[in-house]
Symmetry: C2
Amino acid sequence: MTVTDELLTNAERYAAGFTKGDLPLPPAKQIAIVACMDARLNPYGLLGLTEGDAHVIRNAGGVITADELRSLAISQRLLGTQEIVLIHHTDCGMLTFTDDEFKAGIQAEVGIKPSWSAEAFSDLDTDVRQSVRRILDDPFIPRKGSVRGFVYDVFTGKLREVPSGD
Amino acid sequence: MTVTDELLTNAERYAAGFTKGDLPLPPAKQIAIVACMDARLNPYGLLGLTEGDAHVIRNAGGVITADELRSLAISQRLLGTQEIVLIHHTDCGMLTFTDDEFKAGIQAEVGIKPSWSAEAFSDLDTDVRQSVRRILDDPFIPRKGSVRGFVYDVFTGKLREVPSGD
């Protein structure tokens, strides 16, 4: 049995006890969360979110690339979200390599170098600020009055706000 | 008080009861989930996931673009995940518009047309299969033995597998 099969058994249990079939499409709390994909970072537990509350956007690093700008534009323009919360975290895998070495390793193995940036970073606060600035600089996201960046500490469970720094 | 401030109060409560500070960086279940950002789709509740279990990657639609391929390459190459689960869902916002009309609307308002594709779709199963195929066709994701696509029904809470179709 694969892990996927195990999760499908859990999904059957979830459906059996499901009582939230009447939630509207737009997020009730009008907020979008952008967070790292890291397994230790659970935005639902951390932020007290439940079904229907918020858009949750996640990738390696919790960084802002074209796809997060696309998702945020759709979130705000079509589904009415007003605030954005960004979450990076301590002990992140993105702190352990550089774009150059990661992509050179792939090129050595596969024979092709990815055309994308790996988006590794060496300082958490600096990258949170970089991510905030990419949002503030984007022409397609209409509401930028509350775009705040945080670092989650995977060892203590604490969330710390990153000062804007400029 | 903003919604962000309200979520920060929840985060303080989470930290106060935190007991999971010793989890390793690699996901325990060696699996990556790619799902839509939709507020009604809670991958933790649905799949029975908890802190430390799985990478969770999310965007508007749960579609596969360059950023998801980047995240999946990092997930497998640096953090050892072996399986991939894709989840779209019923009543998705991405079914309600076309790329052309969404981008024309932005251009009319902002004066610039986004260079990204909005990735809207008109059929759930077809787009799940499209997403699976984008992964299978990617040269940088090494492990493709278990890449399975699903549609979550937001009205019933049930998860349905999409047959590969070819």
